[in-house]
């Protein structure tokens, strides 16, 4: 075989194509690292978040420690090691033993070497209560108005479930009486005070009206007491692992589950129920128990209100900037300022929102429209409206930049065609340019929503609170209450993780709430993306 000479062979290898261009692995590596980190983040939150709902089995342990022998029941939450003297490492486990009212702490670390025996013994029950978190105990008997049922007899569990169902109804009805009726009553009394103060009613008339309302109030209280009577005859007796007898009123119990006596499907069903309750219930016990419904509601309402404000403002500003303003030094400066606004730390927007919206605008509104109620502020205090406006300002640059880009991407030929058809400039923009750039504008709105929904720092100053007594939209006239404070998932995470009295108890909820926040942002974004893709199909611009 003849060796081709170097001069004659036009296709002599440069050594690059065969081995690949240098440094491609670095770009691929950068991307891989990013993907791995995203997957790790989502995976961690997903696993931790979902597993916090899984009903774990209760382990009964015999412990021989320095403090003598002891028996306890609980589920294992964590395994770790701690260093001890002599450089040894001692295996330890963290268990949740509940019954915070008895032991003071519900979480506890145990050295594994002190555990003499452990078994998953049947009969143990996890009982959710209105106070002190769950209890872990062996049921003994249930006292009902129609007689006592002993544990182990036919129908004991059904009777417990019935009692819990009754208690749920009672709680629902009393909540209705207390929140709605007594709430309205209290507002009426307060209105009379205000009317009296500004001299709208005579003192005697006011006193008479107050009398009527007072009577009504007493009647409502009696109604509530009557409702509560339904659950009064119930009493639940149990035995803790270390042999203490405990008893709870029927009105204290919210749920029961026997993890040790349930098969996989029952436990899975229980997990789904817990998740559902987490979504629809209100928080209890400094947010560490119960659900996050008000926070979900607050986040969604706040984000949508923000979008409602930022979209027209941003789009209109971008239209002027791109279509009408004379492109020169001035516009360039404005554009730089807008871009820089996106880089301002969000807490600064919070401070601005507090100073401008709450103190200046809100106080002015109070002076003009709610002077009667002063010094109690109505709008002159943080609330969901001011939070939405603050975040609208925060996300404004995103919308402006995206809209400008979308407008400038509309082909020149299409604009000229519209003008050549005798359209005025505004007609061309309104009928041709804006429809063609809608997908791009939607992209900006999606980005703004994602940013706004996840923002926490400014909200602490302008309206998000640990616990809001009522939702910003409800069935009390005038139905929409833009001045109310609200709960927010992002702030909820911060509050649980850092401000909670029982950090260990709050930990599972932190992950569950984080998961929920991610899912919520995902749902909002997906909705917007679906809308955008529909528009894209409708207003597709031809490619030459």
């Amino acid at each position: 075989m003849r060796q081709p000479s170097k001069e004659n062979n036009l296709f002599v290898s440069t050594g690059r194509s065969s081995k690949g261009e240098p440094w491609i692995w670095l770009t691929a590596g950068g991307l891989s690292l990013g993907i791995v980190m995203v997957i790790a983040l989502l995976g961690l939150i997903l696993i931790k978040g979902v597993s916090s709902f899984w009903p774990r089995q209760i382990v009964v342990m015999q412990i021989d420690g320095e403090n003598g022998s002891n028996k306890m029941a609980g589920y294992i939450t964590e395994r770790s090691e701690r260093p001890s003297e002599g450089g040894n490492r001692i295996a330890q486990i963290q268990i949740f033993r509940g019954n915070k009212d008895i032991y003071g702490e519900s979480f506890l670390y145990l050295d594994e070497r002190n555990i003499k025996s452990q078994e998953i013994s049947p009969g143990y029950m996890l009982v959710e209560r209105t106070e002190y978190g769950p209890a872990i105990l062996k049921p003994v008997k249930l006292v009902t108005p129609s007689g006592t049922i002993e544990e182990g007899t036919q129908g004991f569990d059904d009777a417990v479930q019935r009692m819990i169902a009754i208690n749920e109804e009672v709680r629902e009805q009393t909540r209705h009486i207390e929140r709605k009726l007594i709430g309205a009553n209290a507002r009426a009394i307060r209105d009379i005070e205000i009317d009296l103060k500004v001299g709208k009613v005579e003192a005697e008339a006011a006193a008479a009206m107050r009398e009527v309302l007072q009577e009504e109030f007493v009647k409502f209280q009696a109604d509530a007491a009557k409702v509560r009577e339904r659950i009064a005859g119930y009493e639940f007796h149990g035995l803790t692992a270390d042999g203490r007898e405990v008893s709870y009123m029927g009105s204290q119990l919210l749920g029961s589950f026997r993890p040790n006596d349930s098969n996989w499907f029952q436990r899975f069903w229980e997990m789904l129920q817990r998740m559902w309750r987490f979504l629809i219930e209100e928080p209890r016990e400094a947010n560490t128990e119960g659900g996050v419904y008000p926070a979900i509601f607050g986040t969604v309402v706040m984000t949508l209100t923000m979008t409602f404000f930022v979209t027209p403002l941003g789009v209109i500003a971008a239209i002027y900037l791109r279509e009408y303003a004379k492109q020169g030094q001035m516009v360039r400066v404005v554009r730089i300022c807008v871009n820089n606004l996106a880089g301002v730390p969000s807490i600064v927007f919070g401070v601005f929102g507090l100073a401008f919206f709450v103190y200046f605008v809100g106080n002015s509104i109070d002076q003009v429209f709610y002077g009667d109620k002063l010094p109690t502020p109505t709008f002159g205090t943080p609330g969901i409206l001011w939070a939405s406006l603050t975040l609208a300002l925060l996300t404004l640059p995103v919308v402006i930049v995206a809209t400008e880009e979308a407008l400038s991407a509309v082909p020149r030929g299409v604009r000229e065609a519209a003008l050549a058809c005798g359209a005025s400039k505004w007609q061309a923009i309104q009928r041709i340019v804006i429809p063609a750039s809608l997908p791009g504008i939607m992209t900006g709105i999606i980005l703004a929503m994602a940013r706004g929904a996840g923002e926490v720092a400014p909200l602490m100053l302008v309206g998000a609170v640990k616990l809001a007594p009522s939702l910003p939209i409800d069935d009390i006239a005038p139905y929409i209450h833009p001045e109310r404070k609200f709960m927010h998932l992002g702030f909820h995470i911060y509050d649980l993780g850092f401000q909670s009295p029982d950090a260990e108890a709050a930990k599972p909820i932190v992950f569950a709430t984080a998961l929920l926040l991610i899912l919520l942002v995902l749902v909002l974004n997906l909705t917007a993306i679906i809308i955008r893709n529909r528009l894209k199909k409708k207003f597709a611009v031809s490619h030459f």
Partner: protein, 260 residues
């Protein structure tokens, strides 16, 4: 004021008078002086950058959109100056339709594309719109191809059909003049042929000014031809005369292809 109602075609329907034009400091048209007759096809030819598109785009003041332009001289349309302060540019563009090099239908249905000029003029009566769509599409020789899918997206059409749709859109509001800026540059030969046939039929109704790079096209479908070079009008006359017996050396060089 349709051109067809005039008893005698005007020989100076569009009158360009000593027209100079600048983009900023850069003069692109020098002392252009020409009369474009009514109901005929006038072709503007010349090498790239000679100013023929600029001249065309000034006939409906499309160049007003560009910052920093200025002009001297005048263009008269049926005797009225385009730059008369009383002339509103929107109503001017209603009288002067335009078709662009790159077909550019709107992201709307075929129907809505055609009636766009009526919609922006505030004429939205259903029967009038229907009538306009049928007439314009028939005039643009597109009706038979699209009559069953008037409400489909315009982007579903082929390139040649889209360009004919643009022509239908330009003539929908019955302008007097139709400006065509290289209307066949982006089309294949068959589609080009169709457009050329169309131009020949349309000149009965409209005064057509067409910019073209294709000299065969100019000979095939124009009545008069103007040769522009370096922003100046070198020669202007009957198409047959200009191509058969050019008076200027530059013209001869260009049409015989000896021009860089």
């Amino acid at each position: 004021m349709s051109a067809t109602t005039a008893t005698m075609p005007r020989p100076d329907f569009i009158h360009v008078e000593d027209y100079n034009f600048w983009y900023g400091q850069n003069q692109v048209l020098f002392d252009i002086d020409m009369e474009i007759p009514e109901c005929q096809v006038t072709a503007l030819i010349g090498p790239s950058g000679c100013g023929k598109s600029t001249l065309l785009r000034n006939m409906n003041r499309m160049n007003d959109l560009i910052d920093g332009v200025s002009h001297k001289g005048d263009i008269r349309l049926n005797g009225t100056s385009l730059y008369d302060p009383d002339v509103e540019v929107i109503s001017l563009r209603k009288r002067v339709g335009m078709v662009f090099q790159k077909y550019n239908p709107f992201a709307k249905s075929i129907y809505e594309n055609v009636v766009f000029s009526l919609r922006v003029a505030g004429r939205g009566k259903r029967c009038e719109l229907d009538e306009t769509v049928e007439r314009s599409l028939k005039d643009a020789a597109l009706w038979d191809e699209v009559k069953d899918r008037l409400h489909d997206s315009a982007f579903g059409l082929s390139g040649g059909q889209q360009q004919r749709l643009c022509i239908a859109r330009a003539i929908a509001n019955q302008p007097e003049i139709l400006l065509m800026d290289e209307p066949c540059a982006a089309l294949d030969p068959l589609a080009t042929l169709k457009i050329e046939e169309l131009i020949t039929t349309l000149k009965k109704q409209f005064t057509i000014v067409i910019v073209t790079h294709n000299m065969e096209q100019a000979t095939r479908c124009s009545d008069r031809t103007a040769f522009l070079y370096m922003g100046k009008l070198v020669e202007y006359g009957d198409t047959l005369q200009l191509f058969g017996n050019p008076k200027q050396k530059d013209t001869e060089a260009y049409i015989s292809g000896r021009f860089s």
